[in-house]
Structure formats: structure tokens, C-alpha cells
């Protein structure tokens, strides 16, 4: 492998990694404020992607314009999901019962959204050819849309970082993520933060979907793959750690990029699973954060 190929693969990995980090940031906020696994997170991404696809195809709207629109739409949609589906099961007898009930709720949401998309938009592979002209970066050449994706992903991630670190809302979200009971004792409205956190997480999935539609084929079933990637990044990066999420996202993107070049494209996703499993197994033996608490 010569230096140019190496850098090209690195760049390619960074583009995907930035996107993964963005999706995982949203999932991280949701996990933080609610402590549940949202297996339908990727379905919101899929909706964002279709939104951007149709706006571009029907009205020639630039994906850069549909990014904020998808964010707003998915924020509202996330809040609706929370109010109608999560809130009614929130009074379960125990945390375990709540986890089980929400797992079913998200499974139902996944089934419905996938199949509504299938019915409305068919299983056809959808692609946008937006800003496909190559841009030269020294010896490297990269399609402009990929640069746009990574730049927007990094800007949104940075905004999230600033928001979570320095605003009252961000501080409240972090407080709830760290310790719900203490946050409540400090006067944080935990329920309200849960709703808003879920909305923000969903909005980020919409943004990521909008971006993904410019560099990836969109189908109604594309979501789960992204959900698993986001889980990998969230777990490896550390729950509640934004810096960790960014680093883990970039690492996963770069790992996949090199794995598909060196071993074969069919092993691209496999490399991510191996990273996830290896990391969890290692951590479950060395870190108390990966082991259930003593009650």
C-alpha cells in the first residue's frame, strides 16, 4: 500500500466515521436520559434520508437545506413517539419491566416505520447524485459530497458538544444521564429532560440520515445497520462521553475503510462487530462500568 492509497483510505474512513459519531451522539443522549436501548434509532435516520431524497428528487432542494428540516421534523416526531408510546409504559413496576416494555415498543416502531416506508416508497434502492464532482486535496481526490458530509457532521457534533457543556439544558441532560435521582433532587425536571433528550437524539438521527442519503443507497431496511454501528460507537466511546464518541466513530470508520480494502468489502461490517464484541468482552473483565451494579 503506497502513501496515497493509505491517505485515501484514511480520508474515506474519516467521512464515514464522522457520520457514525453523529448518529451515536444522538443515541448516547437518548441512552443517557432514559437508560434504554432504542433499536429503532436507525429507522429515524431512514426517514431523514428519504426526506432529503424526495425533497432533492421532486423539488431539487439541496440536501444542505433538508438537513435542518430533517432535524426539526425528527425532533417533533421523536417527541410524539415519547409522549404516545414511551410515557404510557414509564410507570412499569421495575426498571427491568420498563426495559422490556420499551424494547417491545421500539420493535413495534421499527416494524411500522420499515413497512410504511416499504409501502409508500417501495424497496427500490434510492440514490442522490449531489455534488459528486471530485475535489483535490493535495495528492488525494474526494467527491465534494463526502467533504460536505464530514464537515456538517463535525459542525453539528461541535454544536452538540458546546450545547451539552455550556447551556443549562445541556447541563441538565448530563446531570440526568449521570444520576437521575440526584438530578431530581437538584430540581431538574427529569421527565421533561427525558422528552427533550429523546427529541434531540431523534433530530440528530434525522440529520445523519439526510447526510447519509448523499453518499449511500437508501432502502426502507437500511436503519438497523446504522443502529448497530451507533451502538458500537456509543459503547466503545463510553456512555456520556462526547470526545470518546467522536474518537470511536472515527476509529470505526477508519477500521471499516481499511478492512474492506485489505480483506474484502463483504467484511466491512464484520470488522465493526468484531471491534464491538472484543471491546465489550475485554471491558467486562476489566471495568466495573461494564458489570452490573451490586444492588
Amino acid at each position: 500500500m503506497d502513501a496515497t492509497t493509505f491517505l485515501q483510505l484514511l480520508l474515506f474512513g474519516v467521512v464515514w466515521g464522522g457520520l457514525y459519531a453523529l448518529i451515536a451522539t444522538g443515541l448516547n443522549v437518548i441512552y443517557g436520559v432514559m437508560k434504554i436501548l432504542n433499536i429503532a434509532h436507525g429507522e429515524l435516520l431512514m426517514l431523514g434520508a428519504y426526506m432529503s431524497f424526495w425533497m432533492f428528487t421532486l423539488w431539487n432542494v439541496s440536501p444542505l437545506v433538508s438537513v435542518p428540516l430533517a432535524a426539526v421534523a425528527m425532533f417533533v416526531f421523536g417527541i410524539v413517539i415519547h409522549k404516545t408510546l414511551i410515557a404510557p409504559v414509564a410507570h412499569s413496576a421495575s426498571m427491568e419491566a420498563f426495559e422490556y416494555a420499551t424494547l417491545i415498543v421500539f420493535f413495534g416502531v421499527l416494524l411500522i416505520l420499515q413497512n410504511v416506508a416499504l409501502l409508500l416508497w417501495s424497496a427500490d434502492y434510492r440514490v442522490i447524485s449531489y455534488a459528486t464532482d471530485p475535489v483535490s486535496l493535495g495528492p488525494l481526490s474526494v467527491a465534494a459530497n463526502r467533504l460536505i458530509v464530514v464537515l456538517v457532521a463535525l459542525v453539528v457534533s461541535a454544536l452538540m458538544f458546546i450545547g451539552l457543556q455550556y447551556t443549562m439544558l445541556g447541563k441538565a441532560i448530563r446531570a440526568v444521564s449521570q444520576d437521575m435521582t440526584t438530578a431530581r433532587l437538584m430540581g431538574v425536571n427529569v421527565q421533561r429532560i427525558g422528552v427533550i433528550g429523546f427529541g434531540i437524539g431523534s433530530a440528530l438521527a434525522g440529520v445523519a440520515g439526510s447526510l447519509a442519503s448523499t453518499i449511500y443507497v437508501i432502502t426502507p431496511t437500511v436503519g438497523l445497520l446504522f443502529t448497530i454501528k451507533a451502538f458500537t460507537v456509543m459503547v466503545v466511546g463510553g456512555l456520556g462521553s462526547q470526545g470518546g464518541t467522536l474518537l470511536a466513530g472515527l476509529s470505526l470508520g477508519i477500521l471499516e475503510s481499511f478492512a474492506s480494502f485489505l480483506i474484502g468489502a463483504e467484511f466491512k461490517d464484520l470488522s465493526g462487530y468484531v471491534l464491538l464484541i472484543g471491546f465489550i468482552v475485554w471491558k467486562s473483565r476489566t471495568s466495573s462500568a461494564f458489570v452490573s451494579e451490586v444492588k
Partner: protein, 317 residues
Amino acid sequence: MSAPVKWAIAAAIAALFVLPSWASAYAISFLVSVFMYVALAGSWNLFSGMTGYASLGQGIFFGIGAYAFAVSTVLLKWHPVAGFVLAAVVPGVGAMLLGFVLLTTRIRVAYFAIVMLGFNEIAKTVVANIKAIGSSSGLTIPPLPSNLVAYYFLLLLAVGVTAISYAIKRTRWGLGLKAILADEVAAEVTGVGTVAHKMVMFVLSAVLIGLTGSMVAWYWSYIDPYMAFDLLVSFEMVVMAIFGGVGTVMGPVLGAVIMSVVKEVLSTSIPQFHTIVFGVLVLVLIIWCPGGVIQVVNVLRRRLMGGPGPAAGRSVR
């Protein structure tokens, strides 16, 4: 369990054994899928429901069982009985190896769930890339001599899984599992062999799911990596068990029967929208009774019979 309930269950099982003499081919094929789901949900419940370690990738053993059977009978020309033995042994050994890695610690449930899902996806990719076993185009298995083979095999599995679950609950071993579910550290310091309990149940669950997979593969007479390791198989058994009532004996049975009936009715009456309506029903029902159907049944039984049935809130765990 009260005497009338016992008799009713015995009568229902007996009826299912003699039913094929009258039933239509359609009814047989429908019941085959019901038994499959009862066996899967019940087997998932044996490990995940009873220990609290919810696995989101238990379908990996379905796929391994299916492939063990297909490879041994089709490619190696083994007798089907030997194929079934292999379809029990390979998932069992696989579960033991995974168990040594995952269950010797108190790994957080969320992480365990995701790791199992990851293993299922790895198995799918690996199988899809091995040319010797058909890679992604799969294997064709000669058709069953009669669909009744699948009917009786899966009926026995479904009844067997439920009976095992009932028997375990009544022993000291079952008490140990209950202790692990409630508080693993406390169980361990009280003298429960927590690792042994978890390992045995995990392997048992894998063997039973593997056997189900092998029979279903033969029934389908074709298997490819995307069917065998379909994540939907992993998810459906979880959803059915939770929907019926996690950790209980009859919960997974009720959940699997109700859900497969609803799925069947919807897919024949409104084929275009059936999955969407099914999803909506799942949401409505879980919001209506978050503790599972068994909770509703227990409450009703208490009201009707005035008996001392278990308290509604506690019956879930």
C-alpha cells in the same frame, strides 16, 4: 397449578396429537409455525427470562442448528437422526464457548444483548462467505416425507420446552435462578453457583433452539444465511416471550400462540398492510399491559375464581 388447569392443558395437548387425522393441510402448516414460535419463545425464556440476561441474538443457535442439519444430511449424506443430533450438539458447544467468554462475569444486560446480536451478524457473514456450504446462495434440502414429521417434532419440542420450564421452576435449581434474577451478587454469596446456573441454562436454551432450527430448515427444504440468521428470528422470540410474560412458564406459550394467530389472520386478510397493523397491535397491547398477557390472565383468574392467584404486579418476574 390447579387441577382443572392441569386437566385442560393435558386435554389440549392430547387433542393436538390426534388433530392431524382431521385437520387440513393449511391447518397443519399454520400449527407448525405456532409450535416453532412456542419452542423458540420458551427456549429464549429458559435462559434470558429466568436469569434476566436478555439476549437479542439467540437466533444464532437457530441458524447454527439449521446449518448443522443441512450440511450433515445434504453434503455429508448423514441419516436425518444423526443430523438432529449434530444440530443439538453444535449449538450446545457453541453456547458453551460463548458462555465461557460472556457469562463468567456479571456483564451488564444491555451489553450482553448487543454482543449476542453482534455474534449473530458475524455468523451470518461468515456462513455467507464459505463456499463449501453454499455461501450466500444456500443449500437445498430434500423435502420432508410428510409435513406431519415437522408437526409432531415441533409439537414435542414446544411441549418439552414448556415442561422443562415448569419442572425447573419447582426445583432448588429454579430457586437458584430466581435468586440470580433478583440479585446476582446476593445469590453468589448465599452459595448459588451463579456461573454454573447461567451456563447450563444458556446451553440448554441453545440446544433447544438449534433443534427447532434444524427441523424448520428441513420443513422449508431450503436454507440460506439470511433466512437462517435473520435478525427477525432473534427479535420475534424475545417479543413473544415478553409479550406473554417474561420468566413465567405459560407466558411465552401464550405470547407465541396469540402473536402467531394475529400474524396469520392479518397476513391472509390484509396482506399489504399486515406487518404495519401487526406493529400497531404490538404497541397497543404492550401499552395496555406492560407486564405481558399472563398478568391479565392471572388477574382475570383471580376475579373469576376468587382463588389466591399470584398478585398481578409480582407475576411478571
